[in-house]
Amino acid sequence: MSDISQTDERVREMSKLRQAMIRPELGGIVGTVAVFTFFILFAGNSGMFNAQGVMNWSTVSAQFMIIAVGACLLMIAGEFDLSVGSMIGFAGMMIAVFGVTLAWPMWLAILTTFAICIAFGALNGYIVVRTGLPSFIVTLATLFILRGFTIFIPQTLERKTIIGGIREAAEGDWIAPLFGGTIFRGFFQWLGDIGAIDVFTRGNKAGQPVVDGVPMLIVWAIGLVIIGHILLTRTRFGNWIYAAGGDAQAARYAGVPVNRVKIQMFMFTAFCATVFAVCQVMEFGSAGADRGLLKEFEAIIAVVIGGALLTGGYGSVIGAALGALIFGVVQQGLFFAGVESSLFRVFLGVILLLAVILNTYIRRLITGER
């Protein structure tokens, strides 16, 4: 009983390498470096790394990032949301219905859509915490329900499944540019003027840079990643997210409002899906009933590549953002490298499998399980 103040001689000091290994971002960092090295070597001259190319894969990565942040925090809180893809389609369609079919002002259409989608997120969460059912099943049901409505509503109102005219309806609106539009236009014009980036040489855009600014989509992605990262690692609520996913019952005994945390994370996931949807309809100018298909899985894959455990309680927003970056760079990079695009899916499957195996190993390192 007297020797308890001594350290246990059987616990070896952890090496620096091992300590680095248990950081959730590790897989994402290694993957990012590997992917960039690969494409710089094999597609360096294909235009992938000039202004247009960078903007191309940045935009695709930013799309993944927006939904990955929501999926990441939710997964750390111990739940899944399979309805993200349907939510994207549904939100886009709601904006079109309110803004075009019903001709509401665009700001009202957007805010109403946010309210409806976040309410669906809350409903997902409420059903999960009330019934104790796996969120996998509950949100699978939501996936079909929302997709059904996304097809039914425009069919009934307009006799078609794609509603256009959104860009025209958003003309002069004060909220729409927060999701459409670009920023730093003056800076990019200047870059074009000094010859740092290419400018159009012909047509009515002659003299304008090929990239006219940073799309709001990318601004949203970076903003959400920063907010998500601070929320998770630097706040009381972040500690509750880890606790709710790590062991809900132990967290409850310690006074953590687990149910509230989970419901709020479902709402945040729905918010992210809606941001994605609004950016998308502003860019395309139309809403389609098939938008967002399979996005829920892409979000989950990005999060898992980023080092989060499927079982909850462990993960990183920065990791998820890197997962999304890898995703976007590879998807677009294969195109630049001239590789058959169907191989992207093969790559995705392989990297997902590797990430899950790596994460399981890391989990053993952390918990000391054998």
């Binding site: 009983m1 308890i4 103040s5 001594q6 350290t7 246990d8 616990v11 000091e13 952890m14 248990i22 601070i230 630097r234 706040t235 009381r236 972040g238 500690n239 880890y242 606790a243 790590g246 062991d247 019952q249 132990a250 967290a251 005994y253 310690a254 006074g255 953590v256 455990l309 309680g313 462990y314 989990r363 952390i366 918990t367 000391g368 399980e369």
Partner: protein, 258 residues
């Protein structure tokens, strides 16, 4: 000295099942009161009544002389009654420091944002762990790397740090090895010395004898009364837990090893 908690004639019925049939026990500050009983004796129901999980069907709970009615466990925690559950005390994937402050996160306001004060949390955790005799590699070490006994100790230190006056330990040693058990019992001893009332639930007589000041045996929802240290032998306690003679015959055939 005034008891910190008096449980008077507590009855608890679950439908037609009588889990507690009138239990009366007092708990004093600075003592370790062992609650013994075999499986199904009503130990768990009793401590859940004390910690606000169950409401008694009849009987009073006096806390520092005042009648108390706990609506839920948070009320009991706020009053200073902390419970450490055997396997649900800690979250393995989280760091010791994050676990220690779970539900009581320290806040520091910076640039108008209310942030988790990690510096304060880490420092406090290291200090408290050192006091309890656990040397951590660092405050960010995951709880999963600690042994079962160390986890119990962290949970006890946490409860004490956040002002527990009564510490209920639900079978803290039942899943532990010999050495880890010794560590937990040493921790109980330290906590008692700080004037905290420790309620130690166990079905292991030897563990109870090692730290207990008073012993109460529960059997089939009733108590056999409370004995002070030195007034009762381990054999007597063991027999009371098993309800008397059955164990005596068992003991004969097993050569007295139970």
């Amino acid at each position: 000295m005034q008891p910190i908690i008096q449980m008077n004639d507590i009855q608890k019925h679950f439908g037609s099942v009588i889990a507690l049939a009138g239990v009366t026990i007092d708990f004093y500050p600075g003592e370790c009161h062992c609650l013994l009983g075999d499986n199904g004796a009503g130990k768990s129901t009793f401590i859940k009544t004390m910690s606000g999980v169950h409401k008694p069907t009849s009987g009073d709970i006096l806390f520092e002389g005042q009648p108390m009615h706990f609506a839920d466990p948070r009320d009991a925690i706020a009053a200073g009654i902390a419970t450490v559950y055997q396997d649900l005390a800690m979250i393995p994937l989280m760091s010791v420091s994050r676990n220690f402050f779970m539900g009581n996160e320290p806040i520091r306001t910076k640039l108008g944002l209310r942030l988790f004060d990690h510096d304060h949390a880490n420092q406090t955790t290291m200090n408290e762990m050192r006091k309890m005799g656990i040397n951590l590699r660092g405050p960010d070490q995951a709880v999963g790397t600690l042994s079962g006994g160390e986890r119990q100790t962290v949970a006890i230190a946490r409860a004490v740090h956040f002002g527990a006056k009564v510490l209920i330990l639900d079978e803290p040693t039942s899943a532990l090895g010999v050495r880890q058990t010794a560590n937990v019992l040493a921790t109980v001893d330290k906590v008692r010395a700080q004037g905290i009332s420790v309620v130690f639930i166990t079905h292991n007589v030897r563990h109870a004898m090692a730290v207990g000041d008073r012993f109460t045996v529960l059997n089939r929802g009733k108590t056999y009364g409370t004995a002070n240290k030195g007034e009762i032998t381990p054999e007597e306690l063991q027999d009371m837990m098993a309800g008397g003679e059955e164990l005596a015959t068992l003991e004969g055939s097993l050569g007295g090893t139970v």
